[in-house]
Each structure stands twice: as C-alpha cells, then as structure tokens.
C-alpha cells in the first residue's frame, strides 16, 4: 500500500502543539499515513486556509487535508460544500458523547461537518487572595455591578495590580468577541430581525460605556493592544485581579510552571445584568476535511483519532488531566479524575450556559454568540473592532465609536445586499 501524506493546518496554541508532539502514536497505529504539519498563527491560518479551500472548492487539489477551523467558519463553509461531511465516523467515536451546544454549531442539516478538538466558553478568573484583601466575595454567578465594585477595590496601580484585564486589541476574534458577548448580557444585539445594525441602541451604549469605564480606570496600561495572549501573560505575573476570558486559559493560569499565582485562582461564570443572558461566549476549534483533499479516508482516520476519547486518555496519561483538551465531550466531565481539576466544573457550566442559536435577549436572525455566522462578519467585525479599540485608546468617544460602527456596518451590509 502506498503511504499517503496528510498536510494538517493547525493553529499555534498549546493543545494543538501538544497534539503534534503526540502524533507519533497515530502514525504508529497507521503505518501508511505520514503527517505534515503547518502551524500558523490564528489570523494567518484563517487567511491561508480560507484562500485554499475557497479557491479549490470541490476539485481535488487542496493543499491541506485536515484544517483547523472555528465554529464561525464551519456552518458557512459547509453551506458552500467545501467540507467533507463526517457522518461515517466509526461507532467507537461516539458522536453522541459530544456536548450538544458544540455539536449543534457544527451540524448543518443534520450532518456533522467538523469534529471538535476543544471547546471553550468564557468565564471570570480572579485572584482569591486579592478578593479577600478587598473584603469581597465572588459568587459563582456574579453580576456586572459586582465586577465593577471588585475591580475598583482590587486596583493598586502603584504595585502594578490592575483590577481587571479585558481584551482591547482590535479584531473580530479579539475585542469584538468579548464585547459582543458582554453586549448580549446587556440586552444588546448586532442586528434586528431585518438585519438592521443596532449600534445606535441604548444597550450598546451602556455596554461600551461600562467597558471603557472598567478598562480605563482599572485596567492595565496599553489595554488597547492587549489580546488574549497579552492578558494571559499579565495574569500569570499576578498583575490582574480579574480576567474575563476563554475557559481554556484556566489550565495555563493554574499551571505552577508558568503562573506565579497558580494556587490563588478562582473561577466564576461570566457576569450578567439580570436579563437572562450571561456575557460568555462559545467557541470550538475543530478539525475539518476540505472537499478538495485527495486523501479523505486517511484524513478521516486522523480527525477521528485526534478528537477521540482515546486521545483524551493519551493526553491524560502523558500530561495530566489538567492538560486534556476540554469542552467537547460529556464523558470527560463525567470522569471523576477530571472532576478533580479545579476549573472543570465552571468550564462545563459556562459552555452549557451559552446558546448560539438564541444568543441574545431580543430575537435575531443570526446564530453565534460572539460572532454573527455570516461571511461578511470577518470584515465587519474587524472594522467595528477597530472603532472599539480607537475608543479605548481615547481617539474617539464611545458615542462616536458606536456611530461609526453603525455606519460602517450599514455600509457593508448594504454592499452585501442584505437590504434590497
């Protein structure tokens, strides 16, 4: 049998890199398959993979056999027929074990188009010691008011302790993700049922004002260029009192090798305003197979392996339970070993609390919590994100930023033909 070489495009995060180093297990089991890794930073990855998938379509000349895609792309790509459906995964894969919130987002017309590698929501990570010092207590489900109060209490700029670290870097996957989720809890939405942008609404105004308030008063300097990584580094150095961000961060901030505050981290659900929606998102990195791949069968074997229970066990054995890719399988959270992991419970609860189908208080025509699952969103999100970061940098007022966002979005939606 000729050996086939799979070219796998992955994002450069810790879990994916771990998979790369453990992939010898897979090739040992499948001697006919060689793996070729292309690891790229998220933006570059998305751009490269999209160009490739979109230009090759269904013709058999895609450069990648397995691509790492997010929950944003999967429904769009599946709709274009760019991904191979994964209905025929082996029985031991146990599709039904996947968390429904995640699985729903990857299923279009009843067909699964990508296998989740890990899933995440967002939650509050906080410093127990600082909360204690401030004389406050963090409930499991805090409100935004409490967050504001705690942030104010914990801030000690002279000692470089900042009450709250939030994303400020422009980008639809960066500040826009956070703000969209936050806006949901404030009762805001991107579009109304007629796709009219809603940035001129009161809830958005409140969202942005509160956000700016928090970050400028209690956040670290340079917040306008902080993304996930920058904040992670800050938190690990003990410079953040609270950090509202992806649940996957939990394993990093509790890892004593990297974090100076590993034993002081507490977790809580993302805050709410009592409107029935919390400010948390839902995201999963998944593995999909481009329709243009020349090695669909081998690719399926790999995808099944990399997202299987077996792989989870392999990681647990090699790296410990805390490093298992989280958020994809019910069975993981049923595992008593895993329940010992401090953030396991809160991660699961956060994921369960997100509802991509009905993300907002008021009805909307789109799905997706912190994004809008339409192709135009990447571009719009980037433009809106730039406005929000400009507001944070003090270049424009909140009012002005929202007004610009409204205009830009209207413009793009008009061009895309949403209003005839």
């Amino acid at each position: 049998q000729d050996s086939v070489t799979l070219t796998i495009a992955t994002v450069n995060n810790g879990d994916m890199i771990r998979m790369q180093s453990l992939s010898d297990e897979f090739t040992a089991q499948h001697p006919g398959i060689k793996l070729e890794w292309v690891t790229l930073e998220e933006n570059v990855l998305r751009q490269r993979v999209t160009t490739d998938v979109a230009t090759s379509g269904a013709s058999h000349d895609a450069q990648y056999d397995v691509v790492t895609v997010g929950t944003y792309e999967v429904p769009i790509w599946a709709g274009q027929g760019w991904l191979v459906p994964l209905n025929d995964l082996p029985a031991e894969y146990d599709v039904d074990d996947l968390l429904p919130a995640i699985r729903n987002g990857l299923t279009i017309d009843g067909e699964l188009f990508a296998a989740p590698f890990y899933g995440e929501s967002s939650m509050v990570m906080y410093r127990k010691d600082l909360m204690e010092k401030a004389g406050l207590e963090m409930p499991d489900a805090p409100s935004w008011d409490l967050i504001k109060q705690a942030a104010a209490a914990m801030t000690d700029k002279d000692n470089e302790v900042y009450g709250i670290c939030l994303r400020g870097k422009a980008g639809w996957g960066e500040n826009v993700a956070f703000l969209s989720a936050m806006a949901n809890s404030y009762g805001a939405r991107w579009f109304d049922e007629n796709w009219t942008p809603q940035f001129d609404s009161e809830p958005w105004r409140n969202t942005l004002t509160d956000y700016l308030d928090l970050v400028t008063n209690y956040g670290p300097p340079g917040a306008a260029s902080n993304g996930f990584n920058e904040n992670l580094a800050l938190f690990q150095q003990g410079k953040c009192g609270m950090w509202i961000d992806a649940t996957v961060a939990a394993s990093f901030v509790t890892n004593p090798d990297e974090s100076t505050v590993a034993d002081q981290v507490g977790f809580a659900l993302a805050p709410d305003n009592g409107l029935g929606k919390r400010g948390n998102w839902l995201w999963a990195w998944t593995l999909g197979i481009p329709a243009g791949s020349q090695h669909v069968d081998a690719a399926k074997q790999f995808v099944a392996w990399a997202t299987s229970k077996e792989y989870t066990a392999l990681i647990a054995e090699n790296e410990g339970w805390a490093n298992v890719p989280p958020g994809t399988r019910k069975s993981l959270y049923d595992n008593p070993e895993y329940q010992k992991v401090p953030f396991a419970k809160m991660t699961l609860e956060s994921i369960m609390a997100a509802d991509p189908i009905n993300p907002t208080v008021d009805p909307v025509p789109y799905t997706g919590v912190q994004f809008v699952a339409i192709p135009e969103f990447q571009g719009i999100g980037t433009l809106v994100g730039q406005q929000f970061s400009a507001a944070l940098a003090g270049q424009v007022s909140a009012e002005q930023a929202l007004q610009n966002a409204q205009q830009l979005t209207t413009r793009e939606m008009t061009r895309a033909g949403y209003f005839k």
Binding site: T7, A9, N12, N13, G14, I17, Q20, S21, E36, W37, V38, T39, L40, E41, E42, V44, Q47, R48, T51, D52, T55, S56, D61, Q63, Y64, G227, F228, N229, L232, A233, Q236, Q237, V248, F252, E258, T260
Partner: protein
C-alpha cells in the same frame, strides 16, 4: 584632514560610536539573550541581563514544534535559487543597458523599478489562482519564479550601475582579440564584475530571505521557508517571549551571520550608482 587626531577626541568618538552602535544593535542582542532564559525570567522585572540560568529549553521546544532544518533549507534554496536565476537573466540585460545605451535606456530601467511598486496584496488572488492552475503552489520552483521576478529590477539596476564603471574599452579589446559576444560576457565582463555580482547576490539573497508575503501565501508545508516558520510564533498562547526569541534567533541567525561575514562586499555594492 589628516591632521593629528588627539587621543582624547578619538576616545570620545569611540564612546559615542559604541554607545549608538550598541543601542541600535540592542534589540537583536536582547532577543538572543532572552532566548536563553526561562519564560518566567524573560518577563522578570527588572530585566535580567546576564545573571540568570542559561537554558536551551526554548530551542528544544521550538525544534520539537517544527522542523527547523527543512524551513532553513527551503529558505536557502529559494533565496539563492531566485537570485542566481535573476543574475543569469540580468547580466545580459545590464550589459546591453550599460554598454549599448540608447535614448530609452534610462526609461526602461525606471520602468523596471516601477514594477517593484506593485502592491502584492492587490494581486494575491489572481496569482494564487494562477499558481494553483499551474501546480506551482507550495513548490520551491514556484517561489523561485516569483522572487526572481520581484528582485529582477533591483538586480538589473545594481549590475547596471556596476557595469557602467567598467570601461567599454576593455570589452572592445576583447572584441578585437576575437572574442564572441558570449566569451566577451563570460570571460571578460563577468569575472571583472565579480565584486559587483557578489554584492548583488548578497543583497538579493537577504531580500529574498526576508520576503514574507509571497513565501507565506504561496506555500503550505513542502516549500515553506523560515518566514513561515516564524509565522507560527506571532502569537502563541501563554508566556512566550523566550520561545519567540529562540525562534526569532533561529530565523535571523543564518542571514545575519552571512551578512556579517560578507559585509565589506555587501556594503561596497550597496550604492546603486549613488557614488561615483
């Protein structure tokens, strides 16, 4: 100006020059230094200068993640390949412009340079489709073709300015001596222009080595050079300064060392006729 330079003045100049030189170099020095620190030490305040536990763990981590040597080799093949092919095309062209100049020569040269102003993002999609259809995607030959075209104007210009310094009489002498056009270029012009050709080669190898747009967008795994290698570090998760530094060091070290060793040569040719 050959008047006595007082040792005092020389000492002062030495201090100033070294300070400025070290300041300019500092970012690179710091990167290299950081690559030997642990992640925690990399972000320590105040910064640690020399007193820390030197470690190679970041290099190990980087190597584990991606096959450095393959990227390295791709970079070598692509940058040298494109430059050499460029030279082969450019030498005759520069010969013609330098020794048989016409009214249009200058215009042609300027037009050639202006093709370098083509913004790559604007034409990525068309070229991507073109490459896909010709099977050049993710091949070293594909990249060599692109980089040859990108660098050709600079190569021609550099050679042209170099050739112009060579007295035409020598080529005429060769012609009188019975040399054909081919032997004239092969045995007389090219060897005489070796210093110029060498610096052209160097500069264009450096430019190709650092070219990040096309090399990133037209490769996947097989032909990916070091620019793609570094692209996977532009924002990994968690503390990453040390690993980033290690990867950066590995990406720039080869060309830095090559550049340093040949700097005399490089600098000498880096004048584009600006110096007569």
């Amino acid at each position: 100006m050959a008047r006595a330079i007082t040792p005092r003045r020389k000492a002062i100049m030495t201090v100033i020059a070294w300070t400025i030189g070290l300041l300019i170099f500092f970012p690179i020095f710091w990167t290299v230094l950081t690559s030997f620190k642990t992640e925690a030490e990399a972000v320590a305040t105040p910064p640690r200068f020399l007193f820390f536990d030197w470690t190679l763990e970041n290099y190990a981590a980087v190597q584990e993640r991606s096959n450095y040597f393959r990227h390295f080799w791709n970079s070598v093949v692509i940058s040298f390949g494109s430059t050499l092919i460029g030279l082969i095309i450019a030498i005759p062209a520069a010969w013609a412009m330098a020794f048989v100049p016409g009214k249009r020569t200058k215009d042609v040269l300027m037009w050639m340079l202006s093709t370098k102003m083509l913004p790559p993002v604007g034409v990525l999609v068309p070229l991507y489709l073109l490459f896909r259809n010709t099977g050049l995607l993710d091949t070293r030959s594909g990249l060599i073709i692109i980089l040859t075209l990108i660098n050709l104007p600079i190569i021609i210009w550099m050679l042209y300015t170099y050739f112009r310094e060579i007295p035409g009489e020598i080529l005429e002498a060769a012609r009188m001596d019975g040399a054909t056009l081919k032997s004239e270029i092969l045995y007389v012009l090219t060897p005489m222009a070796v210093p110029g050709i060498a610096s052209t080669l160097l500069l264009n190898v450096i430019l190709s080595w650092n070219e990040a747009f096309w090399t990133l967008n037209l490769t996947a795994a097989n032909a990916a050079p070091l620019t793609a290698f570094i692209a996977s570090y532009s924002s990994p998760e968690g503390l990453f300064y040390a690993k980033l530094s290690a990867a950066s060091t590995m990406a720039i070290a080869p060309i830095l060392i090559l550049g340093w060793f040949s700097q005399k040569q490089l600098v000498r040719g880096l004048t584009f006729g600006a110096v007569k």
